[in-house]
Amino acid sequence: MLRAALSGAVVAFVGVAALTAQQVGNLDAPTPKPKSYVIYAAEPQEVTVGKRSTLELHFRVVDGFHVNSHTPKSELLIPTQLALQPAAGVKAEPVAYPAGTSYSFSFDPSEKLDVYTGAFTVKLPVVAEAGTHTVEGTLRYQACDHAACYPPKSLPIQVIFTAK
């Protein structure tokens, strides 16, 4: 009987502990508040010295949001645009943006927008001297979710690569 009582007590204790932990976890769970709607994945890259090479800049739009593509359907919409600073020993050509995908708000399917969602890659052709280089830049974008739009934002980035 004592053993049965002990087992019962252990089960009850584990149950209470689990319940309390779950409740505490729920109460403490922060509301997701993205501070940036686009994330840049900085990856060191290698190119051949003096040879035209293409660097890939990987971005990701946070789930649930979209940003206008580089060529939105309306001139009044703010396009996604990457501005790069000159870097010593690096000759950079204009960047190439990916094509966007069609998007419309559920309340007005007739209005078509051109947007990026999820991962998108901007290509940067360069010719570089030997060594490690850092090209600084800013991605300007304007994000929306399914019903609202957020003010334009600027995301500072660093493209780090080595020419060998």
Binding site: L6, G8, A9, K33, P34, F105, A148, C149, P151
Partner: protein, 215 residues
């Protein structure tokens, strides 16, 4: 047997204590969270024209909190430079809509607003479109106005009015102000046309037509 009974009693008391401790802990946390929420509300601008010290990232996506409050007064310029005040519409139901030239969903609802403005004109209903990005320039703003076909007053914001209305983290945001000057509904983001009409009807039917109001 007597010993077993004693042990069992001790265990029952122990489990009861554990349950009580868990419940007490939960209650305390809920209380603390409620207090935190209350203090967050206190941080919102409570009076027209009152500005917060600084914008914090944490304020993002919280939405407006003007429901039941007197709509903050404002006097803003139209594209033609004419001054328009909310108080000019005292005693009338008014929709104060914040929009921007870069905001695609804003441009979806603006033609709906125009339609409802005509439909409910006999009830004195009016719409004021407050351009959040006044720095876009009159030409860009006028282009959107032409494209959406709106004829209601379009006003250029001054930075203060957005703060007076709780700080706008995104667009569109609308405040439905009744005849008494009270915010009876507020919406953040694009809703359906039916929802917008329901808000307008509620605003028209709210408040006394003879009341002075706080506009």
């Amino acid at each position: 047997m007597k010993r077993n009974g004693l042990v069992l009693s001790v265990m029952v008391v122990g489990i009861a204590l554990l349950l009580w401790a868990g419940w007490h802990n939960l209650r305390e946390r809920r209380k603390a969270m409620q207090e935190a929420r209350d203090s967050r509300v206190v941080l919102m601008p409570a009076k027209p024209g009152q500005t917060p010290d600084a914008e914090t990232p944490d304020s993002e996506m919280t939405g407006p909190h003007m429901l039941g409050k007197v709509a903050p007064s404002f006097t803003l310029a139209t594209l033609d430079g004419k001054k328009v005040s909310l108080s000019d519409y005292k005693g009338r139901p008014v929709l104060v809509n914040f929009w921007g030239t870069w905001c695609a969903p804003c441009k979806v609802e603006m033609p709906w607003f125009e339609e409802f403005r005509k439909q409910y004109a006999a009830q004195g209903f009016e719409i004021l479109g407050l351009t959040d990005d006044a720095d876009a320039g009159n030409e860009a703003i006028a282009k959107v106005v032409r494209k959406t076909g709106v004829t209601y007053p379009i006003l250029l914001t001054d930075g203060k009015v957005q703060k007076a209305y709780g700080g706008l983290d995104y667009l569109p945001v609308s405040f439905y102000v009744d005849k008494n000057g009270l915010v009876v509904d507020e919406t953040a983001g694009l809703g359906s046309k039916d929802e917008i009409e329901a808000h307008i009807k509620k605003t028209i039917s709210s408040g006394s037509s003879t009341a002075a109001g706080g506009q």
